[in-house]
Symmetry: C2
Subunit: 342 residues, 2 copies
DNA sequence: GTTAGCACTCGAAAGTGTAGAGTGCTAACA
DNA sequence: TGTTAGCACTCTACACTTTCGAGTGCTAAC
C-alpha cells in the first residue's frame, strides 16, 4: 500500500520523534518538529486515517500516537534515509577490531563490543560455521607426563583446544602413532565426519595399542564437535536496562543467555539476504515480541559464515543502526578472510 | 563485643527472616518464626537495645527492624551455622565442571555458570595468575603462506594464541630460526621478562634476518603480555535483576563490566585468608556500597592463583553461599592442579 | 525481669481533585 | 473539497488526603 506524500511525511515524523524521545506524539508536538505547514486539525485528520489504516496506535484514548509494528515496517521499507557512517568513525572501528588477536572468537568479541557501544543494543554474534570446513591441522602439546593439550585448527580458521589426560605416560611412540592416525584419517575430513562410530572402528583397528591412544582419539572427537558447533556470543545486555518501558528486561536477558534458540534461528537464515530487520512480532520468539531484531551475515572468503545481530526495543534508531551493523559485518568478514588468505 | 544469648537469638532470627523474605521484621512476626518463649514486649525491649547498639535499623519509625551492616557482620562472625553441601550436589557440581575442556578459562566458565545458578548472584572470577609462571612452550602453526597462528603455553596452564601476519612467505628457514630464537631466549623465562626492549635487542642481534622474524617476535611479546594479564570473567549478572529494592542494577552491571577495578582488587587480596566476606560499605567501591562481596581464592599446585567471587545484595544467604563458594574454589583448584601435575 | 495495655507513628494503598495534553467532531472558510 | 478554528470531551500524571494496620516505646502492674 502506498500512502499519500503528506501521510508519509507525518508517519516519518511520528516514527522519528518517537524513536528519539520515547514519548507519544500529538498533533501539535508533531508540527513543532516538522516542516509541515498545515494546522494541527489537519494533522489530526491525517492521523485518524493513519490510525484506521493501522500504521499508528494510541496507548490510551487521549494520548499522542505511537508507531505500530506496521508503521515501523512502512518507515523502514519506504521512508528511512540511511545515515552513512563518517569515514573517521569507520577508521576508528576498524582499528579497534584489528587490535584483536586475529582469531574469529576474538574478532567477534571486539566487534560486538564496538557494536554494543555505538548502538546501545544487545549484540549477538555467531562464530563462523562452514559446513564444508575441514580439519586442517591437529597438534598435540605435552604438558605433563600424562597430560597433553590438543589443538585443532579448521580450514575456516576456528581454533579449539582441550586438555587430555592419559592413563599411561605419553611416550614419543604414542605421539608418533597419534600423528600418523591423524594425518591418515582426519586431516582434510570435515568435522561432521568424525563420529563416535568412526573413532571406535579406528580404535579397534589399532589393536593392542588402542588402549593408550584412545583417550587421545576421544579428545579429538570432542574437539571436532566443538569445531563444528556454532557458538553464540552475547554482549551489551546491560544496554537493555537503559530503556524504560521496555518489557521485562530480565526475561529478555535470560532468553538471550539460553542461546540455543537464537543460534539455530540464525543458522537457518544464513543464506538469506541481509541485513534483515524483524520488528516486534515479526520474529518468532515470545520473549522478543516487544523487541526488534536486526541481523546481518558476514562472509569469510566469499562464503556466508556467521551472523551479527542487534536486539533492542522496537523503537530503536533503525536509520542509524542498520548502516553501522552493515559496516561491522563487512569489516568482520574482510578481517577474517584476510587471516585465511593463502 | 559479646551479646547476651537472647539478643543473639533475636539478632539471628532477624537476619535469617530478613534474608529469606526481604521484609523488615517486627517483634510479633519474629516470635512467630522463632522458638523464643517470651512476649512481644520483651522482644521489643531487646530490639530497642540492639538498635541502640547499632546491630539493627529501622527503615522508618514504625516499621520492623532490618539488620545493619554491623548486624550482618556479627551474624556472619558469631551466629551463622554453615550449611554443608550434600554429597549428591557436590557430585553434580564436580561432573559439570569436569565436562569443561580442561583449560583454565573453560573450567572457570563452567564453575561460574554453576555458581551463578546455585547462588543467584553475579559471579566474577579471575584467571590463574602466577608471578613465577614461565613460558613453557611456543608453537607456530602455519595457516596460509603468510599467516601463522602462534600459541603460547605457560607453566601455569594458560594457553593463549594469536594470528600473526608476515610481510613475506613463511619459509621453513624462518620457522626454524624462530624456534631457535624462542628456545634460546624465551622458554623458561617469565612472561614479565619479555619486554619490548628485549625484543628490540634481540631483533638487532639477528641482523639482516630480523626483518622477516620481527613480526613473529612482536606477536610473541603480545602473547606474553596476554599470558601475564589476569582476566576477569563475569557471569550471572542477570541474577541481580531478581532482587527488587537492590540499588541501581544497571550501575552495578556497568561497574562489573569495567572489570579493571575488580581485577586489581582481587589481585591485591590474593594472599589473604579466604573466603573473605565484605558486607556493604566494607568494600571500597562506591557502586557496591549496597552489595556484599564474598570471594575466595583457589590454588593451583599449592599456590594461590586466582579468585572466585560472588556479588549480590547485602541480604544474601551467607550461610548457604559461603560453603558453596568454598567448595567451588576447592574443586576448581584441584581440577586445574590435576591438569598440570607432572 | 517480664508482661499487658495503650497511645502514637508512619508508610502503603486507596481515593479525590486538578492541570494539561490530546482527541474527534462540527461548522465555517477559501 | 480540503483546510481550519473552536469546543466539548477523555484520560493520564501528579499532588494531596484519608484510612488502615503493622509496629513502636512507654508505663504500670505482676
Amino acid at each position: 500500500m502506498k500512502l499519500s506524500e503528506r501521510k508519509e511525511q507525518i508517519l516519518a515524523s511520528i516514527v522519528e520523534y518517537y524513536i528519539a524521545t520515547g514519548e507519544p506524539v500529538g498533533s501539535k508536538t508533531l508540527l513543532e518538529h516538522s516542516p509541515l505547514s498545515v494546522s494541527s486539525a489537519t494533522v489530526r485528520n491525517e492521523m485518524a486515517e493513519l490510525s484506521a489504516l493501522g500504521f499508528i496506535e494510541q496507548p490510551h484514548t487521549s494520548s499522542g500516537r505511537v508507531p505500530s509494528q506496521l508503521g515501523y515496517r512502512y518507515y523502514v521499507d519506504n521512508l528511512m534515509n540511511s545515515y552513512e557512517l563518517p569515514v573517521q568513525e569507520k577508521r576508528l572501528i576498524e582499528s579497534r577490531i584489528l587490535s584483536a588477536s586475529g582469531e574469529p572468537q576474538q574478532i567477534l568479541e571486539q566487534a560486538g563490543q564496538v557494536l554494543s557501544e555505538i548502538t546501545n543494543c544487545a549484540v549477538v554474534s555467531t562464530t563462523p560455521c562452514d559446513e564444508h570446513a575441514v580439519i586442517r591441522r591437529v597438534e598435540l602439546v605435552p604438558i605433563g607426563t600424562r597430560t597433553a593439550m590438543m589443538i585443532m585448527l579448521s580450514s575456516s580458521g576456528i581454533l579449539k583446544s582441550k586438555v587430555c589426560k592419559l592413563d599411561c605416560e605419553l611416550s614419543m611412540d604414542i605421539i608418533e602413532m597419534f600423528y600418523n592416525v591423524v594425518s591418515k584419517n582426519f586431516i582434510g575430513k570435515s568435522a561432521e565426519e568424525v563420529s563416535v562410530a568412526m573413532i571406535q572402528t579406528l580404535a579397534l583397528s589399532l589393536g593392542s595399542k588402542s588402549l593408550s591412544v584412545s583417550p587421545l582419539l576421544i579428545t579429538l572427537s570432542d574437539l571436532a564437535q566443538m569445531t563444528e558447533q556454532t557458538q553464540l556470543l552475547l554482549q551489551g545486555q546491560s544496554n537493555l536496562l537503559n530503556y524504560t518501558d521496555y518489557g521485562n528486561a530480565y526475561e529478555i536477558m535470560e532468553f538471550l543467555r539460553r542461546s540455543d534458540p537464537l543460534t539455530s534461528f540464525f543458522s537457518s537464515k544464513k543464506n538469506e539476504n541481509s541485513p534483515r530487520i524483524l520488528i516486534g512480532k515479526e520474529n518468532q520468539f515470545r520473549e522478543l515480541q516487544d523487541s526488534s531484531v536486526i541481523f546481518s551475515n558476514y562472509s569469510v572468503s566469499g562464503k556466508e559464515s556467521g551472523t551479527l545481530g542487534l536486539i533492542g526495543p522496537t523503537r530503536i534508531d533503525y536509520a542509524r543502526l542498520i548502516p553501522s551493523l552493515k559496516y561491522l559485518t563487512e569489516i568482520v568478514g574482510s578481517i577474517m578472510s584476510d587471516t585465511l588468505e593463502e
